[in-house]
């Protein structure tokens, strides 16, 4: 299990984590598939979560979710965490999980590690909080 503050963009579906859904955006469709962006967080960090297909209707804000074999990568120009084709997401419960909204791993500029071009490292913070789901005042 990995904390959200420790995830790094990679083309690998090896992210096992759990988090609470803070907010859910509008469900859009590209004709065939439903998609929706959401804000997820644990007690170390937040991230943008991409829900796909039936996942969009299955989860609501306040849900505690376990993700297995997820992937954190650039998808249509958004840096998002998602289950992907080989991962899975499951609802464990509701409400009883602490979270922080900063840092947001999707609002960080990542650059290739100069020592290892296959890995990414944090370069700078684009925004301390999600710009799509700003914290409620």
């Amino acid at each position: 299990m990995v904390w959200l503050r420790d995830i790094v963009p990679a083309a690998q579906n090896n992210i096992n984590t759990h988090f609470i859904l803070l907010d859910k955006g509008k469900i859009t469709s590209d004709g065939q598939n439903k998609m929706c962006l959401a804000l997820a967080a644990d007690k170390t960090a937040a991230v943008h979560l991409q829900l796909w297909g039936e996942e969009c209707d299955a989860f609501e804000a306040g849900d505690i979710i376990r993700m297995e074999n997820g992937i954190f990568s650039y998808n249509r120009n958004n840096l998002v965490l998602r289950a992907g084709k080989r991962g899975k997401v499951e609802k464990l419960g509701e409400f009883t999980m602490e979270f922080v909204e900063t840092p947001n791993m999707s609002e960080i500029k990542w650059v290739p590690d100069p020592n290892n071009f296959n890995k990414y490292v944090q370069h700078s913070v684009i925004s301390p909080h999600s710009r799509i789901f700003p914290p409620t005042p």
């Binding site: 306040g62 376990r66 609802k91 509701e94 009883t96 602490e98």
Partner: protein, 460 residues
């Protein structure tokens, strides 16, 4: 994967309780029909047998009687484990039970009452807690109907074996009646209401000495029903003819006022899920970070025209059944007064807001340092003080409400009210909840008349 016990939504993680019951059932299925093996099981086998029989009772209605006979034959602990498993199941999964399982649940509860099973009082309380206040959906009213039926038909048995649980039922149905009697035009409620009234009147007239155990909140509940004909006479007797109750030791309503209501009664009108969420909020969430949690809580539990009435029960719960440790009080965790302030502001209906304030101040009215708990009165004091200066109107409305209560709540016992509220104010200073009452009496933003009335009260 489908389940015979619960409705599983897609993307839902497997439930451990359901899994262990089902696995036990699958493992022992062949041994669940007569002739039953007469070998004495080991503790682990005994547990599995109980789990399997429980699962069988709930999902195989046609074989339920056989399963129960089997249980009677093997039980060695007064059904304690069986009820423990069932209680856990109800608390966690009742909302997800398929309908036939709910029917079986009521059936097996009656069976367990008949054998005076150990823990039957706990199970009945857990079931009462699953009736959601302010919820008039068919499923919820069905549970109400079934439970009042159980309490009426098993009256003699319960009176003899578990009399206290009857007081829990009384608290519950009195509280529900105040909701049910508001929606008079709903025909479905007619039969249910009559049964609830029948049970409550029976308790009050025949077992008043038991009803006294509820304490002062019994008065608070009865007051909401004064407009109901069957309760009007009871109320009149309570106030004017206490001897009508023929209960030794009860000669005046003030004896009820002086009895603090135990915290366990306030759990009755909060579902276990609500309780878990509220305790989490008050234990783990820092002041300033509560907004999202509050949105989720309101959406889940307070949305709907009649659901707001739950605020009254939640306020009572927070004041009397959730007492944070000193460590939490001194930390940045959101304090009880802040949650109560938010709940009161959620109220759209005036009468619910008024009942919420009454719930907040109820223990103030009769406060006695010797028998009352300062933790029950602390939230109200802090809410008034911490709302200054930014929410001065709120402090004003709270203080005014309190002073109005002292003047009007019970004209025949005004001396008790004055003593109670005055005592409450002095105790919060004495115990260090606030440094001094100057914060109120010398607050320029509060009207001079309110300050004067407060000072006059404090001098008595």
């Amino acid at each position: 994967m489908a389940s015979k016990l619960i409705r599983i939504a897609s993307y839902q993680a497997e439930n451990q309780q359901e899994l262990s019951l089902r696995q036990a059932f699958d493992l022992l299925e062949s041994k669940l029909r007569p002739p039953f093996p007469l070998i004495i099981p080991s503790p682990q086998e005994y547990t599995q047998l109980n789990q399997a029989i429980l699962y069988g009772v709930l999902v195989e209605p046609h074989f339920a009687k056989i399963h129960i006979k089997h249980l009677h034959a093997i039980v060695v602990d007064g059904y304690k484990l069986f009820l423990n498993l069932l209680d856990g199941l109800v608390n966690e999964l009742y909302g997800k039970f398929v309908d036939s399982v709910k029917d079986q649940l009521i059936w097996v509860t009656r069976e367990m009452i008949d054998v005076s099973a150990v823990g039957i009082d706990g199970l009945l309380v857990s079931l009462l807690r699953q009736i959601v206040g302010g919820d008039f959906s068919g499923g919820n009213l069905w549970l109400c109907f079934e439970l009042v039926g159980v309490f009426l038909s098993k009256w003699d048995c319960l009176l003899e074996e578990e009399p206290l649980v009857l007081t829990s039922a009384l608290y519950t149905f009195l509280r529900l009646l105040s909701d049910h009697c508001r929606l008079l035009r709903n025909p479905e409620l007619g039969v249910l209401r009559q049964l609830e009234i029948e049970f409550c009147v029976k308790m009050l007239r025949e077992q008043f000495h038991l009803c006294l155990k509820i304490g002062r909140d019994l008065v608070r509940l009865l007051q909401d029903l004064v407009h109901v004909p069957e309760f009007r006479t009871i109320w009149k007797d309570l106030v004017l003819n206490p001897s009508e109750f023929r209960t030794a030791g009860f000669s005046d309503i003030s004896e009820l006022y002086c009895t603090r209501t135990s915290g366990r009664y306030f759990l009755l009108r909060i579902t276990p899920e609500m309780e878990t969420h509220l305790r989490f909020l008050l234990t783990h969430v820092m002041l300033g970070s509560q907004k999202r949690y509050q949105t989720w809580f309101a959406k889940k539990f307070l949305l709907g025209p009649e659901r707001e009435s739950l605020v009254v029960d939640i306020v009572r719960f927070i004041c009397c059944a959730h007492h944070p440790s000193n460590e939490i009080i001194q930390s940045n965790i959101i304090p009880r007064w802040a949650v109560i302030g938010w709940l009161l502001k959620c109220c759209r209906k005036n009468y619910i807001e008024a009942n919420g304030k009454l719930a907040l101040f109820y223990d103030w009215l009769f406060f006695n340092e010797k028998v009352d708990n300062i933790m029950n009165i602390e939230p109200a004091m802090l809410l008034m003080v911490c709302s200054l200066p930014n929410y001065i109107d709120f402090t004003h409305s709270l203080l005014e409400f309190l002073l109005l209560l002292v003047d009007n709540y019970d004209l025949d016992h005004k001396d008790i009210l004055i003593r109670g509220v005055s005592s409450a104010f002095h105790t919060v200073v004495q115990k260090g909840v606030v440094h001094s009452l100057d914060v109120l009496t010398r607050c320029d933003a509060l009207s001079p008349s309110i300050r004067q009335r407060l000072q006059k009260l404090l001098l008595q």
